[in-house]
Symmetry: C2
Subunit: 222 residues, 2 copies
């Protein structure tokens, strides 16, 4: 497998660079460092190595960009991660707030054979439990463009497309509110001055904080 030239650490850099690229135009060393919880110095050092291996382009101004080879590896790792998340939930009964951590470790050690087997068992799924798209084996990634719940207009409704998987606490809370991908929400009212956002789910109404509303992404009209 292409990625096997790299240790778990290098794989994580590529994965993080890829996902940061989806949100930001320029991915700086400092951003990567924050996401990986390491020092910027370490990132700069690894950057040189990854550039030598032709997996990324890096310069101060334009930040990190993945090369074709780098992107390929990033997608392989992300595919592992998301397939594992779904597998842990569906086959082993993990709750959705626990799958991220477990997948984070397993993604670097499973073989391609393992990957293929769970892919078949899950019937070639396209989305993980948090609504993130699972890259196909050929590197294709379903294009999704959601809008944060916090950006919805008052009265506007939509289906939850995905939720941020980074904070288990938040996931547990979202679970209590039954805010899963696929659920319909209506933004009832946005209280002013950083106040909560009132939303309706089915019959129930809830008031959720801005931080949470920024971590829930809505599939708006076609």
């Amino acid at each position: 497998m292409v990625k096997d030239v790299l240790g778990a650490s290098g794989q994580n850099y590529l994965k993080v660079i890829f996902s940061l690229s989806e949100t930001m135009e320029t991915v700086t060393a400092t951003r990567v460092a924050e996401r990986l919880c390491i020092s910027p110095a370490a990132v700069v050092k690894m950057a040189a190595k990854l550039q030598d291996m032709n997996l990324i382009r890096y310069n101060r101004k334009k930040g990190f960009r993945l090369t074709g080879a780098g992107r390929k590896i990033a997608l392989e790792v992300i595919r592992h991660h998301r397939l594992l998340e779904l597998y842990l939930k569906e086959a082993l009964g993990f709750t959705w707030d626990r799958v991220h951590e477990e997948a984070e470790r397993m993604e670097h050690v499973i073989s391609e054979d393992f990957e293929d087997k769970i892919d078949v068992l899950l019937k070639h799924p396209s989305y993980d439990p948090h609504g993130d798209p699972i890259p196909a084996k050929d590197g294709t990634l379903p294009e999704v463009r959601y809008v944060p719940l916090s950006e919805l207009e008052e009265g506007q409704c939509g289906e939850i497309g995905r939720v941020s998987d980074r904070d288990p606490e938040m996931l547990r809370y979202l679970g209590e509110l039954e805010m899963y991908p696929g659920t319909m929400v209506v933004l009832v009212k946005r209280e002013p001055f950083g106040g909560p956002i009132r939303i309706q789910l089915g019959k129930k109404e809830h008031a959720v904080g801005l931080e949470l509303a920024r971590s829930v992404f809505i599939k708006t009209g076609p």
Copy 2:
């Protein structure tokens, strides 16, 4: 988990020391080095560290001995390994010659939660696909004492208890011969001068080499 004070490397030392102890009275640094495919020097160095951590006792004469804490960790890792082997075979359809390698990497990253979940799914199994006993969560290990097929008397028969899981080639070959744990064999004749051993399985007779016969272990009478 107790073992989490150690990296994958340290865990492997304990695992290897444990399993070598089952066969040999004194486990020397050189034996451990061979098994781990590293230099004896590396083993001696790690030995000092593990001794500091109170996981082993080591001296030139008596070799390696696990302390209570060391044994506990070794059994945790072995439990992971064997549960994973069985899980990979039963739940994911891996063939028995491939499970060892995969489990070898996964055993160091799965959580206790993962362990518990596959244990339940497999209905608290006692043996892995090669017939090796799976340590219980409390550190209990079914006592098994088998005799190598190569030691059987001519005409003696018995049930295959376990086979060595180290060589995938051999496992594939054993699979072709349908020599799985649970299968009954009769030693028909032992050809002299390091010659093959003729055995009978069901209706079929085979001639197998000494190396193989030393890797298959027979459950003899009670």
